[in-house]
């Protein structure tokens, strides 16, 4: 008999509804997997077994009465950037260690209302700043994957590295993530799973620890496209508590998986074929193009001329917004307080923030403060907002010709822990293919499309028009069928 943790989300949903399995046994299987794998992978900062089992019992009771929501009894992991009432929420930072929110984020509220069960809170780069999950105060997340013939620990990607590792190693059925510049798609690519960042405004940001508010969006990690579509449908929708959340109706994304993309126009942005592109990545991209052609789609060469400027523009805008958002951590209302003997308020601020923030966060706050400071604001911040306008126009023009775009997700497979850490700019380049989409607020999905020569997963990214996640899911469903990606990581629920 196959293990409970082998069931996909849609299979588990159907089995629960048919009362073939109980949420309790499913939840226990995942708690068991966490117990055996988490010490090595460090994917969870906090596991909440009591709450999980209580949630499972409640779900089973509802199912017994013939009630229950779209995710009734399904065990989820939550990125530790979402505020969860009465459960510590750290954002991976020392400055928020011990912070226990008194309210629930809107995204997680939607999950619990739909019957989902919380297994715990997953590790992340501090304040979601990073591409390797090596900046968390609570330690590195280790990828469940290993390269062929090497025992080196690899990064799961970041910033949502804990969620990606947990889904990949089957320590949960699905997990929430957030994506500011690639923090869902890049770890999904590194861990061989599906990750979706919806259109900016699809999900409420209420109760998500803010990084860069004009870019932050919540999304989902799951084992396959259908599971991601089911879970993503639940967390989308308008919320009066976030004025940027869209009032647009949310379609049932699962219904978009028709398997038919005949006649659809898919754009291949030529600027993404960057100089020195990894030949394996280029080959995988070509394979993806062939799959789409075989499914009857029309492939169109498109141009996004300002692509190369997206990354430096992001590194003005995101730090600027971060420096402003993170000003709230001052040792007064919550989190860490460092007050030297006889020190005043200013000493407290400066020492608290020096002790509470890690290196990468400080670096970004300082950059953000610099680009917003008097004398530099016009040259950097205003300039970046203008270039951002051009980036948005690039996509608008491309989408006049095509229904979706296909690109690689990341420029490489997962790298070893410690690699790329000597030079911040080198680390930033990890998000070269994901950041332009974020800058334009468009939906993007990464799906596992193949393995590298070293046996590590590689993802392809599908980018859609604003509020057209349906097309993204539909194309992804067809590509998944063609890719037949079945590989599992070395470390996976036994």
């Amino acid at each position: 008999m196959s293990k409970l943790t082998d069931l996909t989300l849609s299979e588990a949903r159907d089995a629960l509804k048919a009362k073939k399995i109980s949420s309790k046994e499913l939840t226990q299987a995942y708690l068991g997997a966490i117990e055996s794998l988490n010490p090595a992978l460090n994917a969870y900062i906090k596991v909440t077994p009591e709450r999980a089992l209580a949630g499972a019992d409640a779900a089973d009771a509802r199912i017994a009465k013939g009630q229950g929501g779209a995710l009734e009894g399904i065990p989820f992991a939550i990125k530790d950037l979402f505020c969860t009432k009465d459960v510590q929420t750290t954002a991976g930072s020392h400055i928020l260690e011990g912070f226990v929110p008194q309210y629930e984020s809107s995204v997680t509220t939607r999950l619990w209302d739909a019957g989902a069960v919380m297994l715990g809170k997953t590790n992340l780069d501090e304040f979601a700043m990073g591409s390797s999950n090596t900046t968390s105060y609570f330690g590195n997340v280790i990828s469940p994957w290993k390269a062929k013939g090497s025992d080196k620990d690899l990064v799961p990607g970041g910033s949502s590295g804990g969620s990606a590792a947990a889904v990949s190693a089957r320590m949960c059925l699905a997990a929430t993530g957030t994506d500011t510049g690639g923090s869902i798609r890049q770890p999904a690519s590194f861990c061989g799973i599906v990750g979706i960042k919806p259109t900016y405004g699809r999900c409420s940001r209420y109760g998500i620890v803010a990084f860069a508010s004009s870019l932050d969006q919540a999304g989902m990690f799951a084992r396959n496209v259908r599971d991601a579509a089911i879970a993503q449908t639940v967390i989308c929708g308008h919320d009066p508590k976030d004025s940027t959340s869209s009032p647009k109706a949310v379609p049932d994304f699962e219904k978009a998986l028709t398997g038919n993309i005949k006649g659809m126009k898919i754009g291949i942005p030529r600027e993404y074929r960057v100089e020195g592109i990894d030949p394996e990545i280029a080959a995988l991209w070509d394979k993806g193009i062939t799959w789409l052609k075989d499914a009857g789609a029309q492939i169109i060469d498109v141009s996004l001329p300002h692509t190369k400027y997206a990354l430096p523009t992001y590194y003005i805008i995101a730090p600027a917004e971060a420096s402003s958002n993170l000003a709230r951590y001052d040792g007064v209302r919550y989190g860490l307080r460092v007050l030297p003997d006889g020190g005043g308020l200013t000493d407290m601020y400066r020492k608290t923030r020096a002790a509470g923030f890690g290196d990468e966060v400080k670096r970004r706050i300082l950059i953000g403060t610099y680009v917003l400071s008097a004398g530099y604001y016009d040259a950097y911040y205003k300039k970046a907002q203008r270039v951002r306008y051009l980036l948005v126009q690039d996509f608008k023009k491309a989408f006049e010709q095509v229904d979706a775009l296909l690109t690689p997700t990341a420029p490489s497979a997962a790298f070893a822990i410690g690699e790329n850490s000597d030079d911040p700019v080198k680390m930033y380049l990890n998000d070269i293919f994901t950041i332009p989409t974020s800058m334009a607020g468009l939906p993007g999905l990464s799906l596992p499309a193949g393995l590298s020569s070293t046996g590590l997963p590689l993802g392809l990214q599908i980018i859609g028009k604003s509020f057209d996640e349906e097309t993204v899911f539909r194309v992804a469903g067809v590509m998944e069928e063609a890719a037949q990606f079945k590989a599992l990581p070395q470390k996976v629920a036994a």
Binding site: V100, K308, R350
Partner: protein
């Protein structure tokens, strides 16, 4: 425009983050590297380009100006490092 220790000292003060002299040297190198890489934006002519204010094309909704929340004093104070008499406690501000 180059970043030196004077600039780092100034922005660290603006950001209210204490930095040691050794850290200042380190930040001069790192921040200079990042800003130098960012300088490539100067290549683009943006003279007649508007600034993007939002990617969402929806107008921000208005709602009635009415009280919808409140009476959460204890919840607000629950995570305070120091509180008393229903207030946050901070070091003395006025001499």
């Amino acid at each position: 425009m180059s970043i030196d220790t004077v600039v780092v000292t100034k922005i660290a003060r603006l950001a209210s983050i204490e930095v040691t002299d050794a850290q200042k040297e380190h930040y001069v190198r790192e921040l200079s590297g990042i800003m130098k890489w960012i300088e490539q934006l100067a290549e683009i002519n943006t003279d007649n380009v508007p600034q993007l204010t939002s990617v969402s094309e929806t107008t921000l909704p208005l709602r009635k100006d009415e009280i919808t929340d409140g009476h959460k004093r204890d919840a607000v104070l629950a995570n305070a490092p120091a509180s008393d008499y229903g207030c946050f406690i901070v070091p003395k501000v006025i001499e």
